[in-house]
């Protein structure tokens, strides 16, 4: 097995006297999909924000490609190759897919006063990248607002991949999607992995995680409850871990195993 791209050791994060993370250890290999599971309030969001440079950990170390690293801003993390697709996707519905794809990173041609947005190249790249992800756009000038939730998610993922992400963090990419769209996004994740990119998949849906994940780390109350490899663990066991074990078992009894 190769060395992990990113390794986060014993990460702690305190907000004043609130302990959001209390020693989380997590690593990610190239081409792997590592699922981070946890119920609401388990610390998933805080953890990925630490990974993507939004927050600095109070304690703990981050090793990226074998070197110790500390990000000062999301920009630093992005430049290093850690891209995060947050739930809001950073997409503008009124703008075309191309304009969204290259927002803030427009390719240019010409010099000086005549330096201009190279819209033809941008359109071509967008169409090609979207096709790679299995989405046929009506045209590159199609507004993002006309795309479905799953397609938007795919545009955001394609954008991150195109701009050289080595680690792709997906924050609950399937939580607001229908069945078919979820399937599309999960298929996209498989494509991304095939390119050697490590994917961190955050979810509280065990079935979605099991569909694409290689390893599963469960967070509860700011701590890792452990990491399991695919095949070692069942959906029910993961579900129990996420909910903190005991209570869930009790609940499940009364709900007749419907969750």
């Amino acid at each position: 097995m190769s060395a992990p791209i990113i390794h986060m050791e014993n990460i702690k994060k305190h907000y004043g006297n609130v302990i959001a993370l209390n020693g989380v250890t997590f690593d990610l290999l190239a081409g792997e999909c590592h699922c981070l599971l946890g119920d609401n309030g388990a610390g998933k969001s805080t953890f990925i924000k630490t990974m993507s440079g939004v927050h600095k950990p109070t304690e703990g170390s981050i090793t990226f490609e074998g070197r110790p690293l500390s990000f000062d801003s999301p920009r630093d993390a992005m430049e290093a190759g850690i891209a995060t697709v947050f739930q809001d996707l950073a997409m503008i519905p009124l703008m075309s897919v191309t304009r969204n794809f290259f927002m803030g990173r427009e390719p240019t041609k010409g010099r000086g006063l005549f330096k201009r947005f190279d819209i033809d190249t941008a359109n071509e790249i967008t169409m090609a990248e979207m096709r790679k992800m299995g989405i046929n756009l009506r045209g590159p000038d199609q507004a993002v607002g006309t795309l479905s939730g799953g397609e938007r998610q795919t545009v955001a993922i394609a954008r991150a991949v195109y701009f050289g992400a080595k680690v792709l963090i997906l924050d609950e990419p399937t939580s607001a999607l229908g069945v078919r769209q979820t399937a599309n996004v999960l298929a996209t994740i498989k494509r991304v992995r095939a390119q050697g990119i490590g994917v961190v998949f955050i979810s509280h849906n065990v079935r979605h995680a099991l569909a694409v994940g290689d390893r599963f780390t469960v967070l509860n109350r700011g701590q890792t409850l452990g990491t399991a490899t695919r095949g070692e663990i069942t959906a029910a066991q993961l579900q129990d871990l996420m909910a903190g074990g005991q209570e869930m078992a009790e609940l499940e009894g009364s709900l007749g195993g419907t969750i």
Binding site: A90, G104, R105, R116
Partner: protein, 368 residues
Amino acid sequence: MSTETLARADERIKTESFATKLMKRPELGAIGGVVLVTVFFFLTADRTMFTLSGIMNFMTPAAQLGILGIAAAMLMIGGEFDLSIGSMVAFAGMVFGVFVVNVGMPLIIAIPLTMGLAAALGVTNGLIVLRTGLPSFIVTLAGLFVLRGASLVGLKMFTGGSTQLRGIREAVEGDFLAPIFSGDAFGFILTWLAKAGLVDSFKSGVPKVPGIPVEIIWFIAFALVATYVLLRTPAGNWIFATGGDALAAQNSGVPVRRVKISLFMLTAMAAALVAIITVIDAGSTDARRGFMKEFEAIIAAVIGGCLLTGGYGSAIGAFFGAIIFGMVTIGLTYTRFDQDWFQVFLGAMLLLAVIFNNVIRRRVTGER
């Protein structure tokens, strides 16, 4: 698989008809409006309205408003309003008048200074909006009153009690920069056309229209440059992104603050340009200059397809919006209608444009 998907994609591009594509352009409404208004005046107005001199007649006020309207449109696309531009016209006019008359500066110094001062006030507007997080509507509404009042006070101070400052034409006479900001341009072309018998001329051979008023040239040039910037430069993409969703733009690396401040600078400088052109043209400046222009500029922008919520619109649309304005204001004098129908017409046009824009937006974004 790839060739198959490619073919499928191509096939779907063709299903979008030319008409649908046209429907999605933000300036469609404004162009339709120009056609409508033209037809209306063709039917009701005196024939002289559509002679060359008639066209110059309505294009001149259209141009003065249009320069403001295009700047306002760009700012609206960027997600903000500037209600202080009308007052800025009066204030910049006062400052410019004082520079050339009281101080006796040549234009090469007075114009950059006036522009610079306006730009600084624009930056101030932008900084206040960004720092306080208040709606620009309120911040610049304050600016509307502050600058209007300051123009009044300033004029009285520098003229010894009058609200009008005269003698500007005499002061700039003979200045080598004056032809760029006043009078008519391309006179030689019209002289030549008159000689060739292509335009109306007096018996002496002098064309009836001596040239194209400079503001029309500025107006057209500004519309072209603004359209180019919006559609073909990274800055244009940043403006749309900033107005569409400032947070998303910020997270994607768009310098949102810089974009907004630059746009506030632009509107203020457009107001100063209009002030300089109209003040030299009139030979004097007064405190009522630019009165209500902020609203007219926003109306031109909205007729031109700008959404009040930002992120959508066009400079060419504002260009046509301003032309509609000029045609209606001036055109009514060529008809037997009471000229004061103008405001009624304007209000109706604004309402229609906003409703129309909303429909279009839903179509573009596929909202239901």
